[in-house]
């Protein structure tokens, strides 16, 4: 990655059903950092992440990707951002390989499909349809999707849900690798993360 990346939010606010979830939220993340968003249930973590992905418009404030407003970038921003939400965004009736091929077709391919599956321990599942994967395996497949496309900014909503200890460790290692290459990760998590504290930046949402 040539130019240093940074992602900045200024005075973000989110209102839901007449309740102010948060307002006046400022933060800045640079390449090489993990932003961990913490807060109790219902404090607006998912809403914040959806605002950061551009799927939801902030009720106030603005986002900047490498100095330009996200609202004006659109296509250039989406070339760089990957999102793993509560839903995996995979088609149940397609095979593992078909799903990843589709993800690659809509982005810039990075790692090969077989390699990324090997990395998340799903090698040999290429032709299995998603319907037959367990919840944890689906989560690992979502990680494989991150690995097989070239995206600089990962936005992860509770990525460790339904993963076992070893898989969480593996996921964390790949997050560290991604950040070490200059990428940015923004995530929420209920678990204590084993990520080294020097790369982690935290913000706390109040309920």
């Amino acid at each position: 990655m040539n130019t240093p990346l940074f992602f900045e939010a200024r005075q973000l606010a989110c209102i839901r059903d007449d309740r102010v979830l948060f307002s006046g939220l400022d933060f800045e993340v640079n390449g090489g950092q993990v932003l961990l968003i913490e807060g109790p249930n219902g404090s607006g973590k998912t809403s914040l992440l959806r605002i950061l992905t551009g799927l939801r418009n902030p009720d106030d404030g603005e986002l900047f990707w490498c100095g330009s407003a996200v609202s004006e970038l659109e296509a250039a921003f989406y070339q760089d951002v990957a999102y793993v939400g509560h839903m995996n965004g995979m088609k149940d009736d397609l095979s593992v390989e078909e799903n990843l091929k589709f993800a690659q077709a809509l982005a810039i391919a990075a790692l090969g499909i077989d390699d990324s599956l090997r990395k998340v321990g799903l090698d040999g599942y290429q032709t299995t349809s998603i319907r037959f994967l367990s919840a944890g395996q689906r989560r690992r497949l979502a990680l494989a999707r991150l690995l097989c496309t070239r995206k600089h900014l990962w936005i992860l909503d509770e990525p460790f849900t339904s993963l076992d200890k070893a898989s969480i460790k593996m996921f964390e290692n790949y997050i560290e690798d991604h950040v070490a290459e200059g990428g940015i990760v923004i995530m929420t998590s209920h678990h204590d993360t084993g990520l080294p504290s020097k790369i982690v930046k935290k913000i706390e949402l109040q309920s």
Binding site: A76, Y83, H86, M87, G89, L94, A103, L106
Partner: protein, 227 residues
């Protein structure tokens, strides 16, 4: 993004939707069976008067095609919305309107095309002249893509709602009226030996307007439903 990668993204969306439909082959037959049944109800209901049936047949086939397309319409974005793949489709560097157009194309290949293929059979059942059958097919070829394109806007608006079904019909059916009017006028003129180029030009114009203009509101409505 180069135009090449945009085109390959378009194709991969079409290919994925066709593949998904192939995995659910049994569901493909439903709108088609509905279409055939609605059309076959008419001789039973209005009696076996060949003259009368021949006169009303094109209209019957067209109305049945409208209803059949409406029936299959709801599925176009539903599953993508529910499993989160729509979110990922929004978050690509490609314009959502192009990907939406790809989904509509796939939808038409799966729902409009089969109607087109089975229509000659139904038309023979009603004893329509061969020349008129050709015109009927031509109007269906020009008209059914418009039904899919316009219907997609309404589906995009209602996809976030729990029960969008009836609302969808109320929103969409009035918008289908111009297509219906020109199509039946063309078939009527053909049956009485009059020129039909005027109606066909109008239908082509509607089709091209729909191809160029409807993907934008559909994409905007999808973003609204997600937000």
């Amino acid at each position: 993004m180069t135009s090449h990668s945009l085109f390959s993204a378009f194709l991969s969306v079409v290919r994925r939707d066709l593949l998904l439909a192939y995995r659910h082959r049994s569901e493909l037959v439903n709108p088609l069976a509905f279409f055939v049944m609605v059309v076959s109800m008419f001789p039973l209901a209005v009696g076996a008067d060949v003259e009368l049936l021949r006169r009303i047949a094109p209209g019957v086939i067209w109305v049945a095609a409208l209803l059949a397309s409406l029936l299959s319409m709801d599925a176009i974005f539903r599953s993508d919305f529910e499993d989160g793949s729509l979110e990922l489709m929004v978050m690509t560097p490609h314009p959502l309107s192009v990907l939406v157009l790809a989904k509509v194309v796939a939808h038409w290949l799966l729902s409009g095309m089969p109607l087109l293929l089975i229509t000659p059979l139904l038309a023979l059942m009603f004893d329509i002249d061969v020349d008129v059958i050709w015109v009927l097919l031509l109007t269906l070829l020009l008209g059914t893509p418009v039904l899919s394109l316009i219907g997609a806007i309404a589906v995009a608006l209602t996809v976030g709602l729990r029960k969008g079904g009836v609302l969808l019909a109320i929103l969409v059916l009035p918008l289908y009226v111009p297509v219906l009017i020109f199509a039946s006028a063309a078939v009527d003129s053909a049956a009485s030996g009059l020129p039909i180029s005027g109606q066909l030009y109008m239908m082509s114009a509607i089709l091209f307007l729909a191809i160029t203009l409807t993907p934008w509101p559909t994409a905007a409505a999808l973003k609204m439903s997600l937000g």
